[in-house]
Symmetry: C2
Subunit: 354 residues, 2 copies
C-alpha cells in the first residue's frame, strides 16, 4: 500500500534522525510490500531562515494531504532572541493547532538493559510502564488574551477549554487504558481551578461508559511527587496541556533513557504527527552522534496508529530491543561493556536486525 | 521579648504537630528569656465545621495583629465534595492573599542519616541543598475570570501578574541567593507564555543590581527533568505560583523526607506564616504518630525570619539534627536500626536535646 509521509526534519539533530527514519522505513517497506513516499518540508528555525516564518503555508498544505507526518525537532539558541511570532516553537504550536492534533500520547517505558542509567533506585523504577495522554491544543498555551496591558505593567495569559475539548481527550485516555492495564489517573488542580473542576466532572461522567477501567483523581502537585516515589503505580495518566507538558517531561527522565522515548500527536479523523520526546540538542547537531531510537520508535507508533501496520511496528520495536540487548548504544548513554556507536551505525544495526 | 503568635492548627494532623510546636517554643522561650503568647484560631475544614467558612473574620483579625502565624495543615476527605467557597483550601488561599504573603520559601535539604530513604540514587541526591522561592499570591490561582460560560460548555481560568508582583518576588529570590550559594535559577515558559516573557525580562533587568549572583533561565518542563537528574546543580529556584506549586512538591520528595520540610510565607513588611510542606495526612490524624519535624523546622524559620532570633532557630535545628543522628524517627520513615517513636516522644527527645 502506498503511504504519503511528510517529513519535517526541523532543527538541530532533527535532520539526522529523520534520515534514520526514512532509511528504516524503506527497509520495512521493501520487506512488507509497502511504498512510502516522502515529501520533506520545513518547520521551526530552519523555516524561519528560509522563508521568514516558522510554519510556511506549503508545509501546512503538504501535511493536510499526507497520510502521516514525521517531525524531528525544532528550536535552538540561534532563534532564542527572536520575537514571539518568529520563534521555532510557534511552528510546532501552529502545526498542532492547524491539524487539530489534540491527543499527545507519550509512553514511558525503560529498556531493562538501560535501567541502570535511571536516576531512580532500581527497585523504584523497575516495573514502571506508563502512558501520558496530554491534551495538546487547548488551555494556557493557546488561550486569549495573552498580552501585556496597563502600559506594559500587567500581563495576562488565559486558560480556556470547551467541554468538547475535554471530552475527546478524556475519551481517548479511557480507550488507551482499555488497551493497556485498565487504570486511568486523571490529573488536575480541582481544589483551585474552575477548569479543573469541569475536567473532573467530565471524567466522572465518562467513567460509566468504561466500566472496565479503574479511575483515580490526583492533584497535579501530588502527581509530580508520585511519579518519582512510585512510578509503577501508573498506567495511563490523562491531563490538560500545561500539566501534561510538565509531567511528561518529568516522567521522561525516570527511566534514564530520554533519547528512547517516542510520541504521537493525533487528530480526530485526520493525520497523525510523530516525533521523539527529546528536543533538538543543538550542542551535538551535525556531529552524527544523535540517538535515533526515539525517532524510530515514533516511526513504529506511526505505523501502528496511522496505518494499522501492527506487524511492521512490532518488527521495528523488536529490532531496537535486540540491538539494545546486544549492547549497542549512542553517546548519550553509558552502558557497561557496551558497544558505542554513532547515528548511522545504530541505524544500520537496527536495519540488520529487521 | 514578648511575641504574639497566632496558631492555626487546621485539620488532620495539624493540631498534633501544632502542640509539638508550642511545647518546643515554651522551652526555647524559657531558655532565652522570651515570652511567646499563643492565640489559637480556626482555619480550613475545622473552621467550616465551627463557623461555616474556611477563613473566619476573627482569624484574619488575629493574624493581622500577630507577630507571626504558625499553621498546621488544612484539608481532608470530609470536605472534598464541598462547593468551592466551602473548601478548606480556600482558607489557605484566603489567608495568603489577605496577609499578602507573596513569598513562599521552601528549602529542600536532606538529613544525611535519612538520605537512604530517597527514591533517587545516593550519588544523585548526595549534595543537594536548594531553596524554592515561589510567588504565592498571583497567577492562575487568583486571576479572574475563573468561571464557566457559554451555558457551562466552556470554562476559563486567568493567569494575571503585575510587574510589581513579579519584581518583589524576584528581588526576594536574588536576596535569598546572596545569603546562600549565589546562584539563581529562574523558571518560566517564556517560549510560549506572555507572562513568562515579562518575568524573564524582569529577571534580566534585576540581575544588574545583584552582580554577585549567577543567573540562569530554565523552562519549566526542563526544570521538572533537571530536579530529578541533577538536583545538586540548583541553589535558589524562583518561579511563579503554579509552576512553584508543582516544582516544590516534586522537589519535596527528592530527599526522601517530606515529613521534614518546612516552609515560610512572607509579606513585604507584615506578618509571616510558617507551615510544614506536607499536608494534613487525614489517614493518620489523631493517632499521635505524625512526624513533627517539618513543623518544628518551620518554627525555626519563624524565629529566624520574623523575630531575627538566629541563635534560638539554630538551637532547634541542631536539636533535631542530633535526634535524627541518634536514630530517632517517626513511623513515616524507615531507619536501619533506628528508634521508632511517636509524635510526643519525638518532641520530648528534641526538647531534651535543646
Ligand atoms: C516546544 C514547546 C512549545 C513544546 C510544548 O511545551 O508543548 C514542548 O515542550 C513539548 O512538550 O512538545
Ligand atoms: C492546598 C493548595 C491550595 C496549596 C497550593 O496549591 O498552593 C498547596 O498545594 C500548597 O502548595 O501549599
Amino acid at each position: 500500500m502506498d503511504k504519503n509521509i511528510v517529513l519535517l526534519p526541523g532543527d538541530g539533530i532533527g535532520p539526522e534522525i529523520i534520515d534514520a527514519a526514512t532509511e528504516v522505513l524503506q527497509v520495512v517497506g521493501k520487506k512488507f510490500g509497502h511504498t512510502f513516499i516522502f515529501d520533506s518540508q520545513t518547520i521551526g528555525g530552519s523555516a524561519i531562515d528560509l522563508y521568514g516564518t516558522p510554519l510556511p503555508d506549503q508545509t501546512v498544505t503538504a501535511c493536510n494531504q499526507a497520510d502521516a507526518v514525521l517531525l524531528g525537532a525544532v528550536g535552538g539558541p540561534k532563534w532564542d532572541q527572536n520575537p514571539s511570532h518568529l520563534r521555532p516553537e510557534r511552528g510546532l504550536l501552529g502545526i498542532r493547532k492547524t491539524l487539530d492534533l489534540y491527543a499527545n500520547l507519550r509512553p514511558v517505558k525503560g529498556f531493562k538493559k538501560l535501567l541502570s542509567a535511571s536516576p531512580l533506585k532500581a527497585e523504584i523504577i523497575k516495573d514502571s510502564d506508563l502512558l501520558i495522554v496530554r491534551e495538546l491544543t487547548g488551555g494556557l498555551y493557546f488561550g486569549t488574551p495573552s498580552e501585556r496591558y496597563d502600559n506594559g505593567n500587567s500581563v495576562v495569559d488565559t486558560l480556556r477549554y470547551t467541554r468538547n475539548e475535554m471530552e475527546r481527550i478524556i475519551d481517548k485516555a479511557f480507550q488507551s487504558a482499555q488497551l493497556r492495564k485498565k487504570k486511568l489517573t486523571s490529573v488536575d488542580k480541582a481544589n483551585v481551578l474552575e477548569s479543573s473542576k469541569l475536567w473532573r466532572e467530565i471524567v466522572e461522567e465518562k467513567k460509566v461508559a468504561y466500566p472496565d477501567v479503574a479511575v483515580e483523581h490526583v492533584l497535579v502537585d501530588a502527581a509530580a511527587m508520585k511519579l518519582i516515589t512510585n512510578p509503577s503505580q501508573f498506567d495511563v495518566i490523562v491531563t490538560e496541556n500545561m500539566f501534561g507538558d510538565i509531567l511528561s517531561d518529568e516522567a521522561s527522565v525516570l527511566t534514564g533513557s530520554l533519547g528512547m522515548l517516542p510520541s504521537a500527536s493525533l487528530a480526530e479523523n485526520g493525520v497523525g504527527l510523530y516525533e521523539p520526546a527529546h528536543g533538538s540538542a543543538p550542542d551535538i547537531a551535525g556531529l552524527g552522534i544523535a540517538n535515533p531510537i526515539a525517532m524510530l520508535l515514533s516511526v513504529a507508533m506511526m505505523l501502528r496508529y496511522s496505518f494499522s501496520f501492527e506487524q511492521e511496528a512490532a518488527v521495528i520495536e523488536e529490532a531496537i530491543e535486540q540491538c539494545i540487548d546486544n549492547g549497542y548504544h549512542t553517546a548519550d548513554l553509558h552502558v557497561e561493556n557496551g558497544i558505542k556507536v554513532n547515528t548511522k551505525e545504530m541505524t544500520e544495526a537496527i536495519i540488520a536486525a529487521i
